[in-house]
């Protein structure tokens, strides 16, 4: 182990594994370690034994839940946008070949005590019970405008100069009611709070387009999900790294991050051994003195024996509870997957209710979400700090990722990956299409 590496990566969360994979492909010598004996860090999917060990200590999983291997319980609730950045990274690196994906079957939003399908096209808007008769026309016009908007083309009103007007002005132009604004901003643009209303409307446009183009790709919802759980994603990128020479050590105690007199990173000590590298990348849990707390997220992992009520009995769903609907400042999300995603034993459903905590009693805050679930068989609730690095790493060569936030998909994770990549290498991340397996094999045969 006493060797020199280009990069040491600490923690096998998705952010770290994507970076490890990308850097290994570029020929960097990478050592990747994790204190846990499983892949995925905070973005892991746990089997029953691991799940109970994490949340219940000595308590063993009930026999009735069945075999360990049938369970892959996500710690964080996120879905992939079918047209999102993570899909691009997956296809360009060919990590898709290790994974299989399924659609999430429904996208729902909570309004006035009821959950309804999110209308994302003009046609759906016209039939949605969410909007009143006159509002339907206005919403249709709004969605039409969004779909046809071209930044370079002239707009019919200064109110629609999206880069330069706040979103509230655009809503006003179309005369959208507050309830409609709620679901456009929170269920389509997936904003967690209402700060976006006073920010340039172009950002909201971009997010609605991501939603609608993702929706258009496979049809049932904008979301896709890897079979066997989100934990497959870091594993896939770890494999990419390994086949390009990355060295993997799980269950490795990290005793000390070593710095020189000027405070620059030198290496990592585990027991009597110290490995050296030019830079280190890691998640906040390895650098508690170099991160700050920026908030708290509460997540309740719930085991159900039935689909979530009032969602057409689908096998998987996302429900957004916009903040205003429950008098909060942040939305509550419910994300549900089931045995058809190979994440739990047959006839079970896994739902995670989550939100950004605003009070000292976050358990109470997620109640509107829990109430949508019907009877809950088992529940694992945890509150975790959202952490972000204090410095950008240029001084000490320590590059720390952010904790996984409360957003519903991976856009912020991809942003963090690109940001760290640029800080580490000094260059923008440019995704090049990697050779396919067939091309690789041919090249090998001809070598």
């Amino acid at each position: 182990m006493d060797e020199q590496y280009d990069v040491i990566v600490l923690g096998t969360g998705l952010t770290e594994c994507v970076l490890s994979g990308l850097l290994s492909v570029e020929g960097k010598k990478v050592l990747h370690m994790d204190q846990n004996d499983y892949y995925g860090g905070a973005s892991a999917s746990l089997n029953l034994t691991q799940l109970f060990r994490k949340f219940r200590g000595e308590e063993k999983a009930p026999e009735a839940l069945g075999r360990d291997r049938d369970w892959n319980v996500d710690l964080i609730p996120k879905f992939m946008m079918a047209n999102g950045e993570l899909v691009k990274i997956l296809t360009h690196t060919n990590v898709t070949r290790y994974l299989e994906f399924k659609q999430i079957s429904g996208s729902f939003v909570y309004r006035d005590g009821k959950v309804s399908k999110v209308p994302s096209t003009e046609k759906e808007a016209l039939t949605s019970p969410l909007v009143g008769l006159f509002e339907k026309r206005r919403l249709k016009k709004f969605l039409e405008f969004i779909r046809n908007y071209k930044p370079e083309a002239p707009v019919e009103s200064p109110d629609l100069d999206l880069p330069n007007v706040p979103m509230s002005q655009v809503y006003k132009y179309f005369g959208l009611e507050e309830g409609t604004q709620d679901f456009v901003g929170h269920a389509l643009a997936l904003y967690l709070n209402d700060d976006y209303l006073e920010q340039p409307a172009i950002q909201t446009h971009k997010r609605i387009m991501l939603y609608t183009t993702s929706m258009a790709r496979y049809g049932k919802s904008p979301y896709i999900y890897p079979l066997y759980g989100l934990g497959e994603l870091p594993q896939g990128f770890a494999r990419l790294s390994a086949i390009h020479g990355g060295t993997y050590m799980l269950d490795k105690k990290i005793d000390e991050v070593v710095y020189d007199e000027s405070g620059k990173f030198v290496g990592v000590r585990s027991g009597d051994e110290t490995v050296h590298a030019k830079v280190v990348i890691g998640d906040p849990s390895y650098f508690t003195n170099k991160v700050k707390k920026v908030g708290r997220v509460i997540r309740a992992i719930c085991l159900l024996r039935h689909p979530i009520p009032n969602t057409d009995d689908v096998d998987s769903v996302q429900i957004v509870i916009p903040q205003n609907q429950v008098k909060r400042k942040h939305d509550i999300y419910v994300a549900c997957v089931s045995a058809s995603h190979n994440v739990c034993a047959s006839d079970y459903f896994l739902a995670i209710v989550s939100t950004i905590a605003e009070t000292d009693n976050p358990q109470e805050e997620i109640r509107p979400g829990l109430e949508l679930l019907g009877e809950i068989e088992e529940q694992f609730v945890y509150v975790s700090d959202m952490q972000t690095p204090v410095e950008d790493g240029t001084k000490d060569n320590v590059f720390i990722s952010k904790t996984y936030d409360a957003t519903s998909h991976f856009a912020s994770v991809c942003d963090d990956v690109k940001d760290i990549y640029k800080r580490v290498t000094g260059e923008d991340l440019v995704l090049k299409q990697r050779p396919t397996q067939e091309e690789e094999q041919e090249a090998m045969a001809n070598a």
Binding site: Y39, R69, A82, V87, L90, T91, N94, T96, R97, Y98, E100, F101, K102, Q103, S105, R217, Y218, G219, K220, I224, L227, Y228, E232, Q235, G236, A238, R239, L240, A242, I243, H244, G245, T247, Y248, M249, L250, D251, K252, S340, N342, T436, Q437, E438, E439, E440, Q441, M444, A445
Partner: protein, 249 residues
């Protein structure tokens, strides 16, 4: 991404195009027992002395014929992740076959092989076909009398812990076979270097794979799962309907 559902490579009767049945096969075993060398022998019919630890290939594919069917092996190498016990569970997910390799000149490598077999039986698809392969029989001259002694000491990596010690067999074939029989494994002794027994391992696995079950309409290339809603990210258009075993990538 290449579409691999072509039928040209091993075409049978031209009137009935055959779609290869895709089988995920994983290699397991201690470092330096010759896992990659076995595959290189099988896929490219070649051998590299002092091969570096595996790097670069995600997996190799090779078609093989069983009676009137073609099996396309998608062979996964450990990519070195076994070295520090850090093989991801994803690795053996849905594997329909596994070759667990040990080195006949190192008894400890059989113990390691046994622990991999246990791991597979605990974690992998219950119907997985497992073969145990005792590799490097070219290094032990006593039973391979027809080999010229000069050819026998080429493999330096096996020498690493024993300087000038003569290389001797540490695992008798009977012992390994008895273990394999008891655990329901196929058993072979192989030499990736000379090509001895390699083709046989893959052929026998191909014969043992429950192909007919896999060809059932509901099958999606992955055992035991419903096939609906499956999508292929590399297919921009009609993703719905799944990959159905037509794409290896």
């Amino acid at each position: 991404m290449a579409d691999v559902s072509d039928n040209t490579a091993l075409s049978g009767s031209p009137s009935v195009p055959m779609k290869p049945v895709q089988v995920k096969l994983v290699l397991l075993g201690e470092a330096a027992v010759g896992k990659s060398s076995l595959v290189l022998r099988f896929v490219n019919n070649e051998f590299q002395e002092n091969k570096e630890p595996t790097i670069g290939a995600a997996f190799l594919t090779q078609k093989t014929r069983v009676e009137d069917k073609i099996i396309k092996f998608e062979i996964w190498d450990t990519a070195g992740q076994e070295r520090f016990h850090s093989l991801a569970p994803m690795y053996y997910r849905n594997a329909q076959a596994a070759i667990v390799v040990y080195d006949v000149t190192r008894a400890a490598s059989l113990d390691k092989a046994k622990s991999w077999v246990k791991e597979l039986q605990r974690q992998a698809n219950p119907n997985i076909v497992i073969a145990l392969a005792g590799n490097k029989v070219d290094l032990v001259s006593d039973e391979d009398d027809d080999l010229h002694p000069d050819e026998l000491d080429g493999d330096e990596e096996a020498n690493e812990d024993g300087d000038d010690m003569p290389i001797t067999r540490q695992v008798p074939a009977e012992e390994a076979r008895a273990y394999a029989d008891e655990s329901g494994l196929l058993f072979f002794e192989t030499s990736a270097k000379l090509g001895h027994g390699v083709q046989e391992v893959f052929n026998e696995i191909a014969r043992k794979i429950p192909i007919d079950q896999m060809l059932m309409p509901s099958r999606s290339g992955r055992a035991g799962m419903p096939g609906s809603n499956r999508i292929d990210l590399n297919n921009d258009g009609q993703g719905i309907g799944g990959r159905g075993g037509s794409c290896a990538c």
